[in-house]
């Protein structure tokens, strides 16, 4: 590593104003340095601010505090020498493959002969030969993302930023693209000096990166830094690879609850009325309980193991496990999920009994649910407008999160038959309580 790092991020803070005038903090106290020849992974769940950080580095948005320096110069807008690959590819559907790749060079007013030479070279390098005159709609997802890579490489960036570049692809295609990218990187055939990769896939981070920064949520921040010393090419089945993946799993489960600022008892993170609830359907909740209760797990399961059994990503599995933990159907710690007594009872109960159990846990341990139920019970009409609770939630979260939280509560309460909701008039009621 050189004395001056290629990229230097110091004390970054990013916040958005909320309607009531206070701030919603997305990133806090983020420090990061990237040197020559490094691939650095930003690993975290959605909402942990890692994509926001990437956009700050790219100069697409400005921080509320702190500074981003690229080659020693402060970044105040899109910078020469930094190129980006997007999750949804973001290639222009009305331009051919060649025109898409050439666009960045045209913007820099490179002479036409040179544009042609360099664009064809990038297309060749990235394996798009023969597709030059194709329109994006004629290409598969994998080929479209190759266009995204070629477009980024053609401008000869010093630093390549990748925002979950493989997450919109199917498993097999994603693996092919990763391998191709790593081959080119290791052979030094790409005109780039360093890479910052945003991902929520632990295996992807371990497979590709030299260093992994694990992000936590609320507010988004770096929890820990994990160096990956395994030599390239790495093998997913290698025991040391597996061990590293498992340890990051443990890090992400235990660190999360430990870092939670709200008061908590034992293994259950305390939740207040202002907790943002994930939209997890009751089918997923009962599905996971059943899976963990079944052999070979018999009530206790390793999260990475169950994730790969169910072919789920951590982004999809964690909210389910955490909701079970919140309702005290399960405990989550050290990368393991363990069913509680109630969880086991739920697994063995018939449907009516399940609903009764679910209703009890929901009203006991989810404060928002018990709050709504209490308001409905107290009122003579047994009805309450949604806006009443929405306004309360807005003190704690932004509109989008409040909407999502209320939707989650509605769907759980409907399953539990705890209270009813009429979407057309946006009214909660006790119309068909248990």
């Amino acid at each position: 590593m050189n004395a001056t790092p290629l990229l230097d991020v110091t004390e970054i803070r990013k916040a958005f104003p909320k309607p009531d005038g206070s701030e919603f903090v997305v990133l806090k106290d983020v420090n990061l340095a990237v040197g020559e020849g490094e691939i650095v992974g930003l690993l975290g769940r959605s909402g942990s601010g890692k994509s926001t950080l990437l956009r700050l580095i790219a100069g697409l948005s400005a921080p509320s505090g702190g500074a981003v320096r690229f080659r020693g110069e402060p970044v105040s807008g899109p910078t020469q020498g930094v190129a980006m690959v997007f999750q949804s590819f973001a290639i222009f559907p009305w331009l051919t493959v060649f025109e898409n790749v050439a666009l960045g060079l045209e913007a820099q007013r490179v002479p036409r002969d040179e544009i042609r030479r360099r664009a064809l070279a990038a297309i060749d390098l990235i394996g798009l030969d023969g597709f030059e005159s194709a329109y994006p709609r004629e290409l598969s997802g994998g080929m479209r993302q190759r266009v995204g890579f070629a477009r980024a490489l053609v401008v000869h960036p010093c630093l390549l930023l990748m925002d979950e570049p493989f997450s919109a692809l199917d498993v097999l295609t994603a693996e092919t693209l990763r391998t191709d990218f790593l081959d080119l990187w290791c052979e030094g055939r790409m005109p780039i000096n360093a890479v910052v990769l945003v991902t929520h896939n632990i295996e992807e981070a371990v497979l590709m990166c030299d260093r992994v920064l694990v992000f936590g949520s609320n507010p988004g921040r770096i929890l820990t830094e994990i160096p990956v010393k395994l030599p390239q090419p790495r093998n997913r089945l290698d025991p040391s690879f597996r061990a590293l993946v498992d340890s990051i799993y443990v890090e992400m489960t235990s660190r999360r609850s430990a870092a939670e600022a709200v008061p908590r008892s034992e293994l259950f993170p305390g939740v207040g009325i202002g907790t943002v609830l994930p939209r997890v359907s009751s089918n997923l909740l009962s599905g996971l309980i059943e899976k963990v209760a079944e052999a070979p797990f018999n009530g206790t399961a390793d999260l990475p193991k169950i994730a790969s059994d169910l072919q789920m990503e951590i982004d999809d599995l964690f909210p389910v496990a955490e909701t079970l933990q919140m309702m005290r159907f399960a405990e989550v710690a050290g990368g393991d999920i363990k069913l509680t007594e109630q969880g086991l009872a739920f697994a063995n109960a018939p449907l009516d009994e399940r609903k009764r159990l679910f209703s009890r846990q929901l009203l006991s341990y989810v404060p928002l649910a018990s709050h709504i139920r209490r308001v409905l019970d107290e009122r003579p009409s047994h009805t309450a407008r949604k806006s009443r609770f929405f306004d309360e939630l807005e003190d704690y979260m932004n509109d989008e999160a409040a909407e999502q939280t209320l939707r989650a509560i509605v769907s759980w309460a409907r399953y539990a038959e705890a209270f009813a909701y009429d979407d057309e008039n946006a009214v909660f009621s006790l119309e068909n309580p248990t």
Partner: protein
């Protein structure tokens, strides 16, 4: 696919920006009305361009009229690219510009023509040129608003990642406009251009031959030809005119819009294969003749050349917070000043000169016209919704009927008015009742083809499920067909209702030879005021009609549209 949203992004019923916009627009009308009255004096001589009813002149007249249409279309595009871009890019300007656009959509253009004719004729030293400008401006006002709305909506909905990609790869604002925003907006813009062309024929016919008080203008073209045929009561000439219009509409549809639609289908943003791929024989021919590639290559070269010629300027700076600066205060100051001016004109021209009795009469007449519009829309719905559903569920029939419905919407219905007058006079019918259907003659097709489009999107599995459970009869209409087409129906009905208000100005006062028939309503009030050159009444009529249309849109159609969108969205 959902029905096109006719309201832009405005969800609220009314904001204070709407009120400001309404005052500004009515103030502008009042100002123009007043200015025109002062300009009348030197223009009292009769404008006489010799016209002939000989059918051999028709190709020349048709060409002149079409030329006016395309000039106006060019103006509309220019307006769209500037006004809509400004509204979309500047949050400050957008807050005012978007409501203004919405109000302008509701101003009855036909009533406006009389004012603009005099205004433009006074501007241009040669009187024919002034009249030409006025006609082109009238067509422009019938075309521009919905095109600008469509472009504004598109620019606002360019996917965030595409914008970021454009920024990250250092595209200049000029390049972003031509390489990102315009291509993204093009499908919606072309569709709206087609709608505008259809609407434009109605107004070109009405704007070429116009009499305001003692000023008479007759520009060589289809509109003047028809006007002359009406005055002379020449039925054969009307037939020739109808035939010519049919041919003209067929020609530009086949040679211009079909190829454009087929070409644009290849540029759609949705990258999935569409269910229906538009074809155009003309596009195939042009492609083979390399006409298209030559044209696009020229366009590409122009874009590249201008991109190079534009200064690079400083790279866009990312900003964190938007602070209220000097610019905001200046902007609000300008708005306040213009608002005060508009209010002053409204006070002077409208309120000060209007007696209470006259105001009451105008409102009463407006209610009569409203009654006509409501009854006609209801009647047209009862007729066309079942037919539209029936057609939409049968792809083969739809392929034949859909282009015919769109064609009928493009056909200027006012060509058929003389025939109606002829029938009413011959059978001695009541003008108050039987002139009314003319208002919806040209606009009912919007209901039909929107319902057809809606019915064709009902998923096959939903229909099979209904069949499987033997859902039939009224139950099927209530649970399957009507909910599925409802959002589309509302979109069509909004267009039809707005168009009918506008058409009332020509429909409620129709003539044939020396016979003139009048139905009592706001439309005939404006038409009579125009013929008499009474500017105060014209402005009063226009303002009242605009107010009625805006209020009906805000408090009936808009809530209905969002209700339909929320409640009956498929999937």
């Amino acid at each position: 696919m959902s029905p096109p949203n006719p309201f832009g992004f405005v969800r609220e019923r009314a904001t204070r920006w709407d009120v400001i916009a309404l005052i500004l627009v009515i103030g502008l009308v009042a100002f123009l009305g007043e200015a025109s009255r002062g300009l009348m004096a030197p223009l009292t001589t009769i404008e006489s361009v010799p016209l002939s009813l000989d059918p051999s002149h028709l190709p020349f007249y048709a060409a002149r009229t079409t030329l006016r249409m395309f000039l106006a279309l060019g103006l509309s595009l220019l307006f769209t690219f500037t006004y809509a871009t400004w509204a979309a890019k500047s949050a400050r300007a957008g807050r005012l510009l978007v409501p203004i656009l919405d109000i302008l959509q509701s101003v009855p253009i036909l009533g406006f023509i009389s004012i603009t004719v005099v205004f433009f004729m006074s501007l241009a030293p040669g009187r024919v040129l002034g009249a030409e400008l006025a006609a082109i401006f009238a067509i422009f006002t019938s075309q521009a608003w919905n095109m600008a709305f469509s472009f504004y909506q598109s620019v606002r909905t360019v996917p965030a990642e595409l914008q970021e990609a454009a920024l990250a790869f250092h595209l200049s604002p000029w390049m972003r406009f031509w390489q990102l925003e315009v291509p993204f907006a093009l499908p919606g813009l072309i569709w709206n251009t087609m709608m505008s062309m259809s609407g434009g024929w109605f107004f070109v016919v009405a704007s070429e031959a116009i009499s305001v008080g003692t000023t008479h203008v007759a520009l060589p073209g289809m509109g003047s030809y028809i006007a002359l045929a009406i005055v002379r009561g020449d039925l054969a000439a009307i037939a020739w005119a109808i035939l010519t219009m049919l041919i003209v509409i067929l020609l530009y549809d086949q040679l211009l819009f079909r190829p454009l639609v087929a070409w644009i289908d290849g540029l759609r943003f949705e990258q999935e294969a569409g269910a229906y791929v538009p074809h155009s024989w003309a596009l195939t021919v042009m492609r083979r003749s390399r006409l298209i590639s030559a044209a696009t290559a020229t366009f590409d070269a122009a874009v590249r050349w201008t991109s190079w010629a534009m200064p690079i300027g400083a790279p866009p700076r990312a900003r964190d917070v938007t602070a209220k600066g000097l610019g905001d205060w200046l902007w609000f100051g300008i708005i306040l000043a213009v608002l005060a001016g508009a209010l002053w004109h409204i006070l002077r021209v409208l309120i000060a000169q209007t007696s209470f009795g006259e105001a009451a009469t105008v409102v009463e007449l407006a209610c009569l016209t409203m009654l006509r519009v409501v009854v006609l829309i209801a009647l047209a719905s009862v007729v066309w919704v079942p037919i539209g559903v029936w057609v939409g569920l049968r792809p083969r029939v739809m392929e034949i009927v859909q282009p015919i419905a769109q064609f009928l919407a493009a056909f200027p219905a006012n060509l058929l008015f003389p025939l109606a007058v002829y029938v009413i006079v011959t059978w001695n019918l009541s003008a108050d009742v039987w002139l009314s259907p003319l208002m919806i003659l040209g606009t009912q097709w919007y209901i039909l083809f929107n319902v057809i489009a809606g019915a064709s999107t009902i998923p096959g599995e939903l229909r099979y499920a209904a069949q499987n459970f033997q859902v039939g009869g009224w139950l099927w209409w209530r649970t399957v067909a009507l909910p599925a087409v409802f959002p589309y129906y509302v979109t069509g009905a909004i267009t039809a209702s707005g168009g009918s208000w506008n058409a009332s100005i020509v429909a409620e006062l129709a003539s044939w030879g020396h016979t003139q028939l009048k139905a009592h309503g706001l439309g005939s009030y404006i038409a009579e005021a125009t013929a008499a050159g009474n500017y105060h009444r014209i402005v009063l009529g226009i303002a009242t009609m605009s107010l009625f249309v805006v209020v009906i849109n805000r408090f009936f159609w808009r809530p209905l549209y969002y209700y339909a969108e929320r409640r009956f969205r498929l999937g």
